[in-house]
């Protein structure tokens, strides 16, 4: 009985969100044409945005610009909507450019090859949709873990209660399944980072899966994934001991000529640098791909609607809603799995950095 109820609820949620977000998406595409271009719509939804759509409501977000050494703003993004210029700036496809007197983009010159105009842009430090997502995640984390920490102080040595008992298994999981086996004895030094990164990614992933609230795509943004991977990289590099660097620059057990010509160093160095890149790409691509797939299933409805009329749209909506639900379920798993994988790989890199090698192997 409960199961059927839950299924109906999920169905209703998916249908409502898909329609409401597409309605807003269509509206946002400056209404120049009624034509539905799924690729553009999907990319638009996956990318960052200067406003949040909740249903048909648009919440404008503050824009902050760094314009040649001076801070401009914050001012509301509604000033720049519909191609209006404001304070000498204009926004096109969520990018902010300098505007001339007529309100169009300043053209600096033309690209040699593609003959397309080059525009200059101020640095955009706006509080975008993803930044709001990051803040929500951060605040949630602070609230959650302060509550958990308080619980441990209040009930020292007793059984956990409430949110504490919900999160304790995950904390223990990160400690016992991720940190301890991959790092070894020195795991405690890395626990704060591993726990923070695990819960940050997980909560941000789940935030991206909540319908209605504007479709956050925090971890599916390459900048977010890059920052996380870069911090892992920095911690790895700074906690690397003598053995670790020796392995990179003078790998033991390899013919001397390989080492002397620098070939081995090159290979090791590529490995060293590519780790954070792969870490970035994995997180970004997994989450973005999940969002794209769900949006594609929903797009099918509109494609069929355009091709075969309302009947086609209704017919295919049944199939695509079921597939969307299926994908949502998989994405729930992926949300956890990617947080786990990111944390696990970070822990493995830390482990290789602090490992004491039994000489010579």
């Amino acid at each position: 009985m409960n199961n059927t109820k839950a299924t109906f609820l999920a169905l209703a949620l998916v249908i409502l969100t898909s329609f409401s977000s597409f309605a807003s998406g269509g509206h946002d595409n400056h209404g120049e044409a009624e034509k539905f271009v799924p690729g553009d719509v999907i990319i638009h939804h996956v990318l960052d945005n200067h406003e949040i759509h909740i249903g048909n409501f648009h919440i404008p977000l503050p824009i902050i610009l760094w314009d040649n050494g001076k801070l401009v703003g914050p001012f509301s993004s509604s000033n720049l909507s519909h191609g209006n210029s404001y304070l000498g700036y204009v926004m096109d496809h969520e990018k902010i450019y300098y505007a001339d007197e007529t309100g169009s983009k300043v053209i600096l010159g033309y690209d040699e090859k593609t003959k397309e105009p080059i525009h200059s842009k101020p640095l955009d430090f706006s509080i975008t949709k993803s930044v709001v997502g990051i803040f929500i995640t951060s605040i949630l984390m602070l609230l959650m873990f302060f509550a958990v920490s308080k619980g441990y102080k209040k009930r020292a040595g007793q059984a956990p209660k409430g949110i504490q008992s919900a999160l304790e298994p995950l904390i223990v999981f990160v400690r016992d399944e991720v940190a301890k086996p991959s790092i070894g004895k020195k795991y405690e030094k890395f626990m704060p980072y591993l726990l923070t990164v695990f819960f940050f990614i997980w909560i941000a992933n789940l935030l991206g899966l909540i319908p209605f609230i504007g479709g956050f795509n925090v971890t599916g943004n390459i900048a977010v994934a890059l920052v996380l991977a870069f911090i892992t990289f920095l911690i790895t590099a700074f906690s690397g001991n003598k053995d670790y660097w020796l392995h990179i620059f003078w790998t033991p057990g390899v013919p001397v000529w390989l080492k002397a010509t620098g070939l081995m160093i090159l290979i090791e160095f590529i490995g060293f640098v590519s780790k954070p890149i792969v870490l970035t790409l994995r997180l970004f691509a997994n989450i973005t791909a999940g969002h794209i797939i769900i949006l594609s299933f929903v797009s099918l409805i509109f494609i069929f609607n355009n091709m075969y009329g309302a009947g086609g749209g209704f017919g295919v909506s049944l199939v695509s809603v079921i597939f969307s639900i299926f994908m949502f379920c998989i994405e729930l798993l992926v949300a956890f799995l990617q947080a786990y994988v990111f944390t696990l790989l970070s822990a493995l890199y830390f482990g290789s950095a602090v490992e004491e090698h039994a000489h010579e192997h």
Binding site: T137, L142, K153, N221, V224, I231
Partner: protein
């Protein structure tokens, strides 16, 4: 293409927010949580260990008690058995002495009776002899006082001897 180019603003805000969260949680939450978890696990482990020890102690005590009980029971049994044996022996002894005494008394009585009987018999024999002698004396005296009778008697014995 935009998908793959990180936005500088987002990088900035992300770094800021994440590092703030990391340092604040590290200072005020994680250390407390991790140490509390560890403490509790140690406590549980200790408690389990002591419970195990108490259990072992209990079982050893119980075994001891059982041993004592068994010993006591065995002792009681032994005492009972001894008492029973003693009783039986005493009874048997008593029976034996009683029957011996009886036998002896019977034998003594029998001997006495025999003696008395013999005495009585011999007395009677004596008396009978005396009485017979007296009678014989009297008879002989009377017989011998009459001459004719004496001759008749001789005759009679002689004829009896002749006819034989």
């Amino acid at each position: 293409m935009e998908l793959l180019t990180p936005n500088i603003g987002l990088v900035f805000w992300m770094s800021l927010a994440f590092l703030v969260v990391l340092f604040v949680l590290r200072k005020f939450a994680w250390s407390g949580i991790i140490s509390a978890l560890k403490e509790r696990e140690d406590f549980i482990e200790r408690s389990l260990k002591s419970a195990e020890e108490a259990k072992a102690l209990m079982s050893s005590l119980k075994a001891e008690n059982e041993n004592l009980l068994a010993e006591a029971r065995a002792e009681r049994e032994a005492i009972l058995k001894e008492a029973k044996e003693m009783k039986e022996k005493i009874l048997a002894d008593a029976k034996l002495t009683a029957s011996e005494e009886g036998n002896r008394m019977i034998a003594a009585a029998r001997g006495e009776i025999e003696k008395e009987k013999n005495q009585a018999l011999s007395d009677i024999k004596k008396q009978v002899g005396e009485i017979s002698l007296e009678i014989a004396e009297r008879v002989i005296k009377k017989e011998l006082s009459d001459k004719g009778a004496q001759e008749a008697l001789v005759e009679k014995h002689l004829s009896a001897a002749q006819s034989n």
